[in-house]
Symmetry: C2
Subunit: 352 residues, 2 copies
């Protein structure tokens, strides 16, 4: 990777936008989806970055995923509370529209909320937040997928719900705090990576289909399927389980479209909540407090002197800054996939 | 306990209200605080129930805690976003006013949020929720206490922030789902109980002041103090840590009053968010989904055949129903403390 060609983000942006437009996306949709996937890549979320471009373009080409802004349906809204039906439009476009709409409400009255049902794959939740924290807003995202069951209830064996992440961007006087955590102990992605690499997981975060805790990824990929344990694991999983039910309620519950509808197509229920501190104690007091707390955290003695305590998002923002300065290196696999997609669309490849 | 006198809730309500009124509380404040503490007791949260009455009355008598409704200051509000300064008024009154105000906003426009700074002790967050779920509303509560540091950052040793609970009430077609979970592995209350009982904690959820994980409560009560580990423990504590920072932002951050102000008096920052499903997919679709998910959970195979999987709040609601039907038994210690408080105030005791 260190010898790989580095690309500036303007070049990558133009290239990826052309791929989406070549597949039939509106310019606005192509712009938003490209920005979110590139942002995921910049923050180091390489499983939720530009590797998704070819998958998304393929979905559009097969007609499974829509790519026109007009297909995102605004079902109802009070000005601050809005419901969209994504009709399986490219997920990053759905989520960004939901966030922008919630931010309008927040800036008008202090808080706004938008719920989207049936968004296509929405990528990395952390990738949406910085434009909002840059404007002094607190932005929260929640998601679930009612077509999938992966995580068991506390004390249960069978997989019932999804990892149901909570993400949030918190403005400070400096870089924002960006958090993005699933309510399961680990994500399915990590389990798949360990299976592919032939390794075990570092902890027994799985439940086999006959009720045995396990760190062997093969115990998840069985018939019937195993489960991921809730955040908190065997001892404290009642907490992650409870929070996951809350995320289900805020997403699929409010959406009015969930597991009861037995959807067959992968599709997210996503909820955006945006809060404007100016309607409460003020932005200055807010960021003074978040920065003060951040400093308390960073000043706390580390367990390992070689590993100072970090704030959520800090490592990703450092990677992002470096990539913006020095260019972004792409893995050979991602570069190949992007160029294959370009070739299919009769577009020029990225120069290597 | 099984032979103890059981009291009907009307008798207990009148008795406790009289104690607060005798100490100088407004009738409205006495009514709300009594209802919340009794509700905590009914739900089985006996560390956050009627045992708090004597402590609260003592605080009012010493002038540390205010008990007049007019002392809860409405600082600003947009109709849906409101900031209160509690000025250390009895916490349950502050939180209930915040919730009621947020619910008004939710019923008008879909969502409402109220933030309170400097509430006195607020009891058990789960005890506030059922009146809102009974009206078909989703109610969330968050709290932190900027005068206290108990929990370490992930990878850190020093105690920095509070357990920062998230509570929520989720309406279903039947009993609500009521969750109330701290973002630390355990609460300070449990650590104190184990110390008093001379036992260890069931897991190594503490960090000694020299950075050793421990299950010995004595390693917390040292000088300098030890820490509670974040939810997720040593392996996955980055998740509980991140969520705790979010709770700090939503409470002390929005309040504009937090750790940067170095408050010396115990006092909560609390935030209430209420959402009305009627502004989204509708209450019927919401409760159909929450009930369907609840049934999926309850039908999942239990790890231990003797312990069927339960929903958050289910056990407490069953205790509550039983107490409403058969009367509520009080522990001798709580009964004694209540009657001593009554005697101080020259009021008649509860008959034994």
């Amino acid at each position: 990777m260190s010898e790989a060609r580095r690309y500036d983000t303007a070049t990558l942006t133009r290239f990826v936008e052309q791929l989406f437009e070549g597949a039939g996306a509106d310019a606005e949709v192509a712009r938003v989806v490209t920005r979110v996937l590139l942002e995921g890549e910049l923050l180091g979320h390489r499983t939720h970055g530009l590797n998704l471009v070819s998958r998304y373009v393929g979905g559009v080409q097969r007609g499974e995923v829509k790519a026109r802004a007009a297909d995102l349906e605004h079902l109802q809204g009070s000005g601050i509370a809005t419901l969209f039906d994504g009709h399986y439009v490219l997920g990053p476009y759905c989520v960004e529209r939901a966030l922008a709409c919630a931010a309008q409400g927040a800036q008008a009255q202090g808080i706004g909320i938008s719920v989207v049902r049936r968004a296509s794959h929405i990528g990395c939740l952390a990738a949406y937040l910085k434009p909002y924290t840059d404007r002094g807003l607190v932005a929260l995202l929640y998601s679930s997928d009612p077509s999938v069951g992966l995580v068991c209830a506390q004390g249960g064996i069978d997989p019932v719900y999804t990892p149901n992440p909570i993400a949030a961007g918190i403005p400070t006087q400096g870089e924002p705090i960006l958090l993005d955590v699933s309510m399961s102990s680990v994500t399915l992605g990590l389990v798949g990576q360990c299976r592919d690499a032939g390794t075990t997981l570092p902890h027994a975060v799985l439940m086999s289909n006959d009720g045995m805790p396990s760190n062997d990824p093969r115990d998840f990929f069985t018939t019937p399927q195993g489960s991921l344990l809730p955040l908190g694991g065997q001892a404290f999983g009642h907490k992650g389980f409870a929070l996951a039910l809350l995320v289900e309620a805020l997403t699929s519950g409010l959406a009015g479209h969930g597991r009861k509808d037995a959807p067959q197509q992968w599709g997210a229920s996503a909820t955006a909540v945006v809060i404007d501190p100016r309607f409460f104690g003020g932005l200055e007091a807010f960021t003074a407090e978040s920065s003060f707390l951040g400093q308390l955290v960073l000043a706390s003695r580390p367990l390992d002197p070689q590993r100072p305590v970090r704030l959520p998002g800090q490592a990703g923002l450092k990677l992002r800054e470096q990539a913006l300065r020095e260019g972004l290196g792409l893995s050979p696999a991602v570069l190949d996939a992007l160029n294959q997609t370009a070739a299919q669309l009769q577009l020029a490849p990225l120069s290597q």
